[in-house]
Symmetry: C2
Subunit: 348 residues, 2 copies
């Protein structure tokens, strides 16, 4: 495995680059906006293709790199389902996985520091975001933080892992890089409590100043990067759910599901849709690619859809750039479709 822990000195944040091999797919966890050029250089040097960028939660102390990385690399942005962040291509729940080739990270929902805090789990390590730090824990006094929820997340989820499990946190302010579940269980001063009430008592009396960048970072992180769905060219080829329902089943009108297999298995799909996961789209769109061939030879109209309408907007732009002009995308994605009681089918 290729693994890089990268430190942002301004915010004392850790970001993580993960890939199974040189030349393969890469995932970035908690990238920092100001360091994106550095990540891109490193990805290039290591011959990696960034396919996903995931934030453990909406950060209050630095601006996320998710938007910039998506705009430049067309990677899929990933956050937990409970986040209020607007432009996330893939929203994951506890029990889901975040996959790149040969590597799969489990998802734990660990509210407490914020109500959109998640941890990502590999067999030997956990990326704990701000839920559990080295000899510390994330504050619980803003963004719907809750010390009782934090206690449950730490004691009833994270501390169930074996002592030797490595902890890679979202921050460190003291020069530490890694710890283990066992070390934190026994030596994290905040975890030497016997009840959620006792933990809340500690957390409610920390009396910390707000993070320096909070007033800038939180609004910026709630609305990340360019909103491609509002681009006039994209809007002109956007179909609302009701119009899409009318088209559904029409001859020469092909629905294309851009989500991953696991999202389809979990939530179902629109009957008759062709499945082309977003990372494979570029290949299918090029001259000689399957989708390019289908649309050109059969004068077929296509309708891209994904989970929330972001990957499909990106796909529309990709299609235009590949000379595929007869494409549209579904506003609000599969979520809007199911909200409007659109017809669905179970995917096994």
């Amino acid at each position: 495995m290729l693994f890089r822990q990268l430190f942002d000195q301004t915010s004392s944040s850790y970001s993580y680059l993960i890939a199974s091999r040189k030349g393969g797919e890469a995932l970035l966890i908690d990238p920092v906006f100001e360091n994106c050029d550095k990540y891109l250089k490193l990805l290039d040097e290591l011959d990696l293709k960034l396919v996903k960028a995931a934030d453990t939660h909406c950060h209050a102390d630095h601006i996320t790199g998710l938007g910039k990385l998506r705009d430049i690399t067309r990677c899929i942005t990933v956050m937990g389902k409970n986040t209020k962040v607007d432009l996330v291509s893939m929203r994951v729940c506890e029990g889901d996985t975040i996959d790149i080739d040969n590597i799969s990270l489990g998802v734990l929902y660990t509210p407490g520091h914020t109500d959109d805090s998640y941890c990502f789990v590999m067999p030997d390590r956990i990326f704990t975001g701000d839920t559990l730090l080295i000899r510390g824990t994330g504050r619980t006094d803003f963004q719907n933080g809750n010390p009782h929820a934090a206690y449950d997340s730490i004691f009833k989820k994270l501390l169930l892992y074996p002592d030797e499990t490595l902890i890679y946190p979202g921050h460190d302010y003291k020069g530490d890089t890694v710890s283990t579940i066992g070390e934190e269980r026994y030596f994290n001063p905040r975890l030497q409590v016997s009840s959620a009430e006792e933990y809340a008592e500690i957390m409610n009396n920390l009396d910390l100043p707000n993070p320096k960048m909070m007033d800038v970072a939180v609004p910026a992180n709630l609305s990340i990067g360019e909103d491609i769905t509002r681009d006039p060219d994209i809007l002109a080829a956007t179909l609302e759910t009701e119009s899409a329902m009318v088209k559904h089943g029409s001859k020469n009108f092909l629905f294309i599901d851009l989500r991953e297999t696991k999202e389809r298995t979990r939530d179902g799909s629109i009957p008759g849709a062709l499945h082309i996961p977003y990372p494979e789209l570029q290949n299918s769109l090029r001259t000689g690619g399957a989708l390019n061939t289908i649309t050109n030879s059969a004068s077929m109209k296509i309708l891209f859809f994904c989970a929330y309408g972001e990957r499909s907007a990106l796909a529309l732009r990709d299609a235009r750039e590949s000379g595929v002009d007869n494409a549209m995308h579904l506003a609000g994605g599969y979520a809007a479709w199911t909200n409007a009681n659109g017809q669905i089918e179970v995917i096994n």
Copy 2:
């Protein structure tokens, strides 16, 4: 393996803690004086016994923790043979190893940043000190630095390792934690040269200010910690080489070699000496231990010696504290003995 990379924010230095298992022996590489309490706490929490602390070279930007760690833990301090630092218990050459239980680090002599720069090598990683940094190299303009020597150390020693070998440097100023030989070979801007002359041209024109702490750190690092050999109680029980030669072979006078097996095999020993490696001494000195029994039952005088007379002075203090009073130590150690043409034997 237990492995911790620890960052000192003041000097942007990396220190490394290595052990094969919880409860086992530990090695610290390039510890920083101000962080010693933190290391000791971590060693205690991980249930590790610090047996060695090694510096890759005499640092100019921070004060080494070697002296403080030795005074508190009685660990063996290790540096390369070419160092001018005074109180080093074990001096290693290229081809030697630095051993703790189940872990052995090879030693490379890599002059250039300073003339006492060494790298320590494990099967999958190299601790490069300031010889090779991530996308950088150590300056060569003080402490007998030499860009031509640095070129040879990097190109003719380090870059001979496989591309996937991990690089753990002595510093990083940009938030990087680890790299590989391959990355540095291809992407380190200073290594894209075709000759030592070209490299020297770059290094001789860096025009860097001296490190902030240089005037404090270098003198402090050349003379580390308390010089136990000058303690009056120790001096009173110190034997100079000539007196020791007279005693050598006497009845009831036992020479005890505190060095490691590898030092003995490399350099030979004094004929008839009993071998008790320094880390095993405490156990032998306690009531019921072999050395305690020998000295008490046989009214035997003992003379500790090591490589340079530092471990033996520590041993003398240990002996006193264990109630063994009939011990002395050899001034200047085996080095002084061989310089005076003392009798030696080959150890196989």
